[in-house]
């Protein structure tokens, strides 16, 4: 999985970074409440680090399918003692390993964040079963999110499942009944600042939500801590330089890959032509060889010799050899 495509890095456009950061901000009060925190699909940890600011949880379990990403997240969060786990969330044995790392039953109940992960799994059934069990029997609070794919006009090749209002309704029906649901929606805006003024915070009043609002993501929380969640919003300054760089990189990569694809297509075409030519040559030589074989067999028959290259069945019946003409 390429970082620039699916993982959040420092180069990711600010709007997307903010979108990820906001989800962790939502979870931050629970993460910092004193219990253990597990971040499933932690990636590079950029969004979580930004959301938590200077504060850090007592103990973190950082889980990703890629071991290097989990280690990078520990570095990004400045948590060298965090448990970094490489785990496949479709495998119940790996989920059991995460349970063990959470030390269930010890101290404050843990919280588990699982943002933008489910759509990457080939099967989310083990994760659903595991999370429901932990929430109901061990008091673990879960926060999960899925994207609203219905409002993306291109199909994400990294997503194994598609999500929208309907699919999210199916999902929430399978979660424990006590749940908090949130829609994450996109904000756009602008600011007028003094010509030489330094960076400073602005207080914004934004009307958001309401009927007909389209969500970019759907969030569900369940477990004892879900009631503590509060709606929130985040606006960040757009980094036009980075955005331009990111877009150019995508464009360049795309152009490069298109060129490579064209070259490959040309190679494949050339190989096809070669195969056709070789086929033709083979056919010609087969005909030529057949003619020669027929000619040699005629000569061998005239000489009364066994036919070369022929099996026992093809040999002429035994009889008095005729003298050559």
């Amino acid at each position: 999985m390429s970082d620039w495509q699916e993982r959040i890095t420092h180069e990711t456009p600010p709007a997307i970074q903010a979108e990820h950061e906001l989800r962790y901000r939502l979870a931050a009060p629970l993460i910092l409440a004193g219990g253990r925190w597990a971040d499933l699909g932690c990636g590079n940890g950029v969004a979580a680090a930004a959301a938590l600011g200077e504060a850090r949880p007592a103990h973190a379990v950082l889980v990703d399918v890629d071991e290097r990403a989990a280690a990078a997240a520990a570095r990004e969060l400045g948590l060298p003692e965090a448990t970094a786990l490489a785990a496949d969330l479709t495998d119940p044995r790996d989920l059991q390993r995460i349970s063990e790392a959470l030390h269930l039953g010890e101290g404050e109940p843990p919280v588990v964040s699982c943002f933008e992960v489910i759509e990457h799994l080939s099967s989310f059934v083990p994760l659903l079963e595991w999370s429901s069990l932990l929430a109901q029997e061990h008091g673990v609070t879960f926060l999960i999110s899925v994207p609203n794919d219905a409002f993306w006009s291109i199909q994400n090749p990294h997503h194994r499942t598609s999500w929208g209002e309907g699919a999210f309704e199916e999902l929430r029906g399978l979660l424990p009944a006590e749940q908090t649901l949130l829609r994450q929606i996109a904000l756009t805006g602008s600011a007028l600042v003094g010509w030489d003024a330094p960076a400073q915070p602005y207080e914004l009043v934004v009307a958001a939500g309401g009927e007909g609002t389209v969500a970019t993501h759907f969030i569900a929380a369940f477990g004892p801590g879900q009631q503590a969640l509060r709606s929130c919003a985040l606006a960040v300054q757009a980094d036009m330089v980075e955005q331009r760089r990111w877009e150019r990189q995508r464009e360049n990569d795309l152009a490069l890959m298109q060129k490579v694809a064209v070259e490959h297509e040309a190679e494949v075409h050339a190989l096809d032509v070669k195969i056709i030519e070789q086929g033709e040559a083979l056919r010609e030589r087969t005909v030529w060889f057949e003619e020669w074989r027929t000619y040699i067999h005629e000569l061998e028959r005239e000489l009364g010799r066994p036919l070369s290259g022929a099996s026992q069945e093809e040999l002429p019946a035994a009889g008095p050899a005729e003298p050559p003409a």
């Binding site: 059934v125 079963e129 499942t161 929208g164 309907g166 999902l171």
Partner: protein, 421 residues
């Protein structure tokens, strides 16, 4: 996990296809054993069309009676008759439509189908409207939403829609003409009433029930792959159904780049957005439907807009693989949770039986009253038919000259005949 899905038979149909798809997907999960139990006794095991499902077990009712299941799932109201005969830890009912609506008001099956919704079972359903209705009918009963997936290999989504600017509007009508609620003939009439050039294809498995119709092509029955190819060659899927469950065909059309003109039938709201990816037409408004089709035939920009958006809608729709993950999770939940309260279900069913008896009694009284009123006319009419002038008139009716002279009165006489009958 040992699961039994109860089916009447394996005759190819939308409902059976959905169950088989789920069973097929679930059977690939490690540790799952899925059985299709065919409950209709008089029918032999017809496996035609499903030979490619080697992991599935198929059992007759008798064979299944000797086995034990974790969850037994009824999939059609008649299969609930056998549901509790099976030995299972939990019983579930996969409701694909409110099946009482398939029958007319005076048919006993209507009452029977409705009563099965009172059973003490966990419900699984494929559409939000059914879930909401069940929540109203059976508050507190567990109900899981598992929407149907789409076979993304067969109904694969192309990268883009091929623009149709030159050809006549390609209209596809699909459905069983023998099912009154599909209104296939109505759809054909609407397409025939178009003024713009069109090419109408009717897909129908039962040509006899269809009869002679004003269509450019009648094809079928078709395999899924053939249907996918046909959708790809179509601009619009026209469906004027009055009863649907999840309403699959237009969605399949969406996957191949066809938009739709449909009635606001139950299930449409899952994915059809008027003016975005399809058009809604009013009930029984064949002229209005024809005008909408004419609009699409004239305005190719609009047609392409709807088709491109239909494709986008299709892209976000779940596959069967995803849908069956929801089914698996729902079955696991059902297996884990306590059985639904049988006392409450019984009380509800008895209340419905009582009200059904009242309704049935009202129907019978109404019929007796109609018969009594009809008999008042029957005797005078019979006497009139026996009189000499009437006999003469009836005899003259066969003469060619009289037929020609009476031709302008045909609408009046036809109406009179209808009233008399």
């Amino acid at each position: 996990m040992k699961v039994a899905f109860l089916l009447n038979d394996l005759q190819l149909s939308g409902g059976v296809g959905v169950v088989v798809q789920h069973a097929r997907q679930l059977s690939t999960i490690e540790g799952w054993e899925v059985t299709l139990v065919l409950v209709r006794e008089e029918e032999g095991t017809s496996w035609h069309g499903y030979e490619h499902l080697p992991h599935l077990h198929v059992r007759s009712r008798e064979q299944a009676l000797g086995e034990r299941y974790d969850v037994a799932v009824a999939t059609w109201w008649e299969t609930t008759f056998t549901l509790f005969e099976l030995s299972a830890d939990r019983y579930a009912y996969f409701v694909q439509s409110l099946e009482d609506r398939f029958y007319q008001h005076d048919e006993a099956e209507r009452m029977g189908a409705a009563l099965t919704l009172n059973l003490p079972v966990a419900f699984i359903t494929e559409a939000r409207w059914i879930r909401d209705t069940l929540a109203g009918l059976r508050p507190g009963a567990p109900c899981y939403l598992v929407r149907n997936g789409i076979d993304k290999d067969v109904f694969s989504v192309p990268a883009r829609v091929t623009i149709n600017t030159d050809d006549p509007l390609r209209v596809l009508i699909e459905g069983s003409p023998s099912s009154w609620f599909k209104h296939v003939h109505g759809a054909i009439h609407a397409a025939a009433a178009m003024r713009e050039p069109r090419h109408v294809t009717v897909v129908c498995g039962d040509r006899k029930a269809l009869g002679d119709v004003a269509a450019d092509a009648v094809v079928g029955p078709l395999s899924h792959r053939e249907m996918a190819a046909l959708y790809e060659r179509s601009d619009v899927v026209l469906k004027l159904s009055s009863v649907e469950g999840m309403f699959g065909p237009p969605l399949e059309g969406f996957h191949r780049g066809a938009t739709c003109v449909v009635t606001p039938v139950t299930g449409y709201e899952e994915y059809v957005e008027h003016g975005w990816n399809g058009m809604l037409t009013d009930w029984d408004d064949l002229r209005g439907t024809a005008r909408q089709l004419d609009l699409l035939a004239r305005d190719r920009e609009l047609l392409h807009f709807l088709r491109a958006n239909a494709l986008e809608t299709a892209r976000a729709w779940p596959s069967w693989e995803q849908s069956s993950q929801f089914m698996a999770a729902a079955l696991l939940r059902i297996g884990r949770e306590p059985r639904p309260d049988a006392d409450a279900a019984a009380a509800r069913m008895l209340a419905d039986v009582r009200s059904s008896i009242d309704v049935h009694g009202a129907y019978l009284r109404e019929r007796v009253e109609f018969a009594r009123r009809a008999s008042r006319f029957e005797r005078p009419l019979a006497r009139l038919a026996g009189t000499a002038p009437m006999r003469l008139l009836l005899a003259l009716r066969r003469r060619r000259v009289v037929k020609i002279l009476a031709y302008p009165l045909r609408p009046v006489t036809a109406r009179a005949r209808r009233l008399m009958s």
